[in-house]
Symmetry: C3
Subunit: 208 residues, 3 copies
Amino acid sequence: MVLAFLPKSSNFFDLFDKQVDYAIEAALHLKEIAARGMVDEHAGQKMRDIEHAGDDVAHAIIDQLNKTFITPFDREDIHVLAKELDDVIDMIHTIVNRLMVYKLTGVNKNLVEFARVIELSVRAVAHAVKGLRNLKNLKSITEACVEVNRLENVGDSMRDKVLLELFETEKDPIGVIKWKEVYEDAETVLDICEDVVHVVQSILVKQA
Amino acid sequence: MVLAFLPKSSNFFDLFDKQVDYAIEAALHLKEIAARGMVDEHAGQKMRDIEHAGDDVAHAIIDQLNKTFITPFDREDIHVLAKELDDVIDMIHTIVNRLMVYKLTGVNKNLVEFARVIELSVRAVAHAVKGLRNLKNLKSITEACVEVNRLENVGDSMRDKVLLELFETEKDPIGVIKWKEVYEDAETVLDICEDVVHVVQSILVKQA
Amino acid sequence: MVLAFLPKSSNFFDLFDKQVDYAIEAALHLKEIAARGMVDEHAGQKMRDIEHAGDDVAHAIIDQLNKTFITPFDREDIHVLAKELDDVIDMIHTIVNRLMVYKLTGVNKNLVEFARVIELSVRAVAHAVKGLRNLKNLKSITEACVEVNRLENVGDSMRDKVLLELFETEKDPIGVIKWKEVYEDAETVLDICEDVVHVVQSILVKQA
């Protein structure tokens, strides 16, 4: 899981490819955890490993940026893109961590559904970011961005629906506190994915 | 409510004027909802429409920015200003959404009071932002900024007072969870208004 | 406590020295409050004074930045550094404010421990930031940054441990709501300290 080394010749596109691959790995891990209805020590450690590996790539991108004079697109956009992708992985890590700390077990159909939408969104984000390597991909990048925006709206509606349901059915306030946070964090992953594609769209406009 | 089109000739000042007008519309809508003590389907839809229209203007500003070489003030300041004004509208939308999802009904005097202060602050923000068109307005822009800072302090004290009261009087933890969030979000609107005028002040200093 | 004046000749290093000194003052004040197990009116006022003084320095840095053509390091880095240091002080202020508003009294061993780690982290942050004045300090700056990163990890583990304990032992949901926030805010101080040293490290790389 851990990046053994990052060769000096790493270019930004290779590093972003690695970073989005870790984001997909995080999303798949969350989906598996949601399906199993529990986070054991092994699953928790795996999540931390993915998060650390993601951190390492984010730092490598910033280091590369600070050392590089000519960049494939705006310095600020590279910085923000690396930061937002890191936030995607961190927020997925936060969800898994909460499930452990709050000792939430049992398959929760809402979390399963959120994990499914998060996977779709992260895959579309990956498609958009990987596409930046070649602007001939303009059409398919744009479609991926539209998809991420759509999934963010889906996530908003899901969050409202499940919170409404939670407040109506969960009579234990402690349970409300715990699940409310997990659902809100899940929706936040989709918000951050949307932030990522905003940066991608901004990069595209400037290249036009 | 929806922006039918944004002519290419739109300049930044026109777009910011539109954006602050939507912020005022959002603040007035919140005030009406607080006075009526409920959000019905129609009021919820109206809030979503304002939020979408605000989003469209924010995107139009960023698009315009990415396509424009000479800007009336720092590119970064234009970007942050559009983002912060969008956050004002989003946070008002969040409050209205919570009132719906949490099924909070009945006139709440604290929310009525917050909505009143939010309207004052958003109007002062609008005055400051619209003033940027002509720096002869320096004195009145500065006064508006001072007013927004003052209202942020008012909001801080209000939040502390109403939270203290909430924890002393509301014995249902679920009620505490719901109202605590609404009050904190209301205060956050005033924080973001202050962030907006920080950008305005930064623009003024650079033009000096 | 209040900055009587900021001479025009203030340079950025002097201003950052002042700002980190206020951060240390805030951390020490939190530690004292945690040890005494209560925030009385006088302690609350002292915290507000430190926060205002910190605000004044942050504004002075931004003003100086807007008026200065040649800066000792990247304009954006100066801006972000001032902002993040301000966030450190604000978050400590938020903790003290919550203790007052929530009427939390009595010595809480977890808060005492968090306050201790916060002091260590803020002192290391101060060491790193003050070191920027002379890059001969490279080694000791880097060591301070590593220490801040280490303490952030310590804080993460502490937060998980105390939240797990809180949910298992505190049967009053209102108590859970209150302490959960205080602990999370305490951990957030350490996160922001880490953000500060990321900026410091970014400045170092560019100077290399």
